[in-house]
Homo-oligomer: 363 residues x 2
């Protein structure tokens, strides 16, 4: 059997430098654990625009459809701020999500013991926090038609459409219930059913899917109350399922609760391919951080942990994922810190590649 | 000249009991400060549904259009959870907002010194916090058409429409700039212009309005980054302007940062009426809290401070508003607390009416 294939899309800003560390980790798993991958690399975002005039070349899109998993760094930067909407770096990422039909976006918000002080929240509120947000990723207001800016009378109007079919809600709800079964068996679904009909349908379908998972304790919350409760006492949650737009805000909020954005990975999963593996893209939650790009200051951990998620969700190698996660925890426990993880004076941060070294040493 | 008129809509849950304290305050201003109001009272929400089969009677709507200001308590409760969407308690509130055209919703998120410990955030992150969120309140996905649940092929689809015209954005932006001029002269506008065309138009119009306010430092942020930054370091903001749906989540998040939801008022303002006063509705940010309704436990301060906002924004009585706010602060400094403001053991909470007594005593 041939090796599983990985497409690496480092993207913009700090993407390439954090991805360089991931490649060393991938190589280690090949050499030491017999987990070899066929790795190819390509462009996305501003980097793709610079070369091809589009934030994702059709050939890259085709390759992404064929591989077993895509690893993405980050997209965007001030250089591209004035580009037309249709060729902005983000459109490359959105095209990947949409055409690979990656409907289930898993965003863990986990507070690392060694870093609990970093949160703007009180330590007892976040220490030990471990929640998973499942965000619908291929529909809703991100993709609904009609959309655009239109003339109306003597002025313009900006229009976007929130749109969810029963089957779109059903499949993402199912993936959230499956996750809840493997975790704390608690699922909270968030929408604005008090204001939006799409939220009424969302709540109805999630409730119906829940009948297939009687062991999971299902609750519903309005998304505004959800934002409040995440801020007040996030540990009340285990798994949260919500739509694309609410998920965008709520998962970023949840990520920020942990205080260490540079630590958080994500997985975007679609339907199973012929080989049984889901279509999958893995990426850190943080952005391209143009202000520190190219300086060797970036924290590669979120991107490395995104590869750990790939091991778990694409390659059925949960043990190997745990091995990598343990190595990261051990390095943190030793006090090794990139600049973003340092508050106090007097401690010298390590560089991006030194963090990679430290993790490899623990492995 | 006749007295200015106030329509009081206590609503559901704790609404009536907190509003009872506001009425005592209103009476005090009439008796002691020569500020007399013609006060009438009516039903909204579940209470209106119980009597009329609709969450807002047409006569009440007509009265709301005529008075100088409306004071609302809260709407909703589990009793009404299974009602049809069109007659839910919330629809009464939404109808008031829409038909009075209250496009500018002012939601202060202020951390009271005496209560800073109540926040789930670290004290230095929230102490002294004083930001104002201006939420567009009469358009966007709350009211856009088409909306509903429709058949499509062999399944159903839930649809809502996000929709903003240039003039809708212009007027709410102007009200936010005006506020910023009277505060710290900093305005941050939030949308998802990287994903939504309505956000592109929003950003463009806010920028254009900004040209009329050269003294105000204007910035733009994606709403997901906004949620993060509010959580990380909220004091970076002065005034925030955003749309109806983002404003719903972000203002609730900001409110929760302060840790004392029972303290926060809001104002919803429209265009000036013939007498120069804006159409206006004032209400606490908290909900109807059915779990503690009727027990005399509720904190009346948010509703009382909503009346203070009415003094300031409808009746040009900023000095009197400050007098009332000072009385509230003095009571808090004395350690008087309703149950929601108590964490530690050993302190006995005061009742809703005892809190009213204490504030009246300070006045
Ligand atoms: C870059 C942007 C298009 C994207 C989104 O809004 O989905 C990002 O914020 C995210 O959450 O992955
Ligand atoms: C009650 C509900 C309709 C309302 C809203 O969503 O606007 C509330 O959450 C608010 O923020 O005032």
């Amino acid at each position: 059997m041939s090796n599983p294939s990985l497409l690496i899309l480092p993207g913009d800003g700090i993407g390439p430098e954090v991805m360089a560390e991931v490649r060393r980790i991938i190589d280690w798993f090949g050499a030491k654990r017999g987990l070899e991958f066929d790795v190819s690399e390509d462009l996305v975002g501003g980097a793709a625009y610079d070369k091809h005039g589009a934030p994702l070349h059709d050939d890259t899109m085709a390759k992404a459809q064929e591989v077993d998993a895509v690893l993405l760094g980050a997209v965007g930067g001030p250089k591209y701020d004035d580009l037309d909407f249709s060729v902005k770096p983000e459109r490359g990422l959105l095209r990947l999500r949409k055409e690979m039909d990656l409907y289930s976006n898993l965003r863990p918000a986990q507070c690392f013991d060694a870093l609990a002080d970093f949160s703007s929240l009180k330590k007892d509120v976040v220490a030990g926090l471990d929640i998973m947000i499942v965000r619908e990723l291929t529909s809703g207001v991100y993709f609904g038609e009609p959309r655009g800016i239109f003339e109306e009378g003597n002025e313009r109007v900006g229009i976007n459409t929130q749109r969810y079919t029963e089957s779109e809600i059903d499949r993402v709800a199912r993936s959230a219930f499956e996750l809840a079964m493997r975790r704390g068996k608690k699922l909270c679904s968030m929408e604005k059913a008090n204001v939006m009909e799409s939220g009424i349908l969302w709540r109805e379908v999630v409730t119906r899917v829940g009948a297939d998972y009687p062991e999971v304790e299902l609750s519903h919350m309005y998304a505004d109350a959800g934002a409040m409760q995440l801020t007040r006492w996030p540990k009340q949650f285990d798994v949260i399922v919500t739509d694309n737009l609410f998920g965008d805000l709520l998962s970023d909020l949840a990520a920020m609760l942990t205080g260490s954005l540079g630590m958080l990975p994500s997985a975007s999963l679609g339907a199973p391919m012929a080989n049984g593996r889901p279509k999958a893209l893995y990426e850190p939650v943080h952005g391209s951080a143009p202000d520190i790009a190219g300086q060797g200051k970036a924290n590669p951990i979120a991107c490395i942990l995104s590869f750990a998620m790939a091991l778990r969700y694409s390659f059925d190698a949960g043990d190997e994922a745990a091995r990598l996660e343990d190595a990261v925890n051990a390095v943190l426990a030793d006090g090794v810190r990139t600049a973003d993880l340092l508050g106090e004076e007097g401690v010298t941060p390590v560089s991006t590649s030194q963090m990679g070294d430290a993790i490899l040493a623990k492995l």
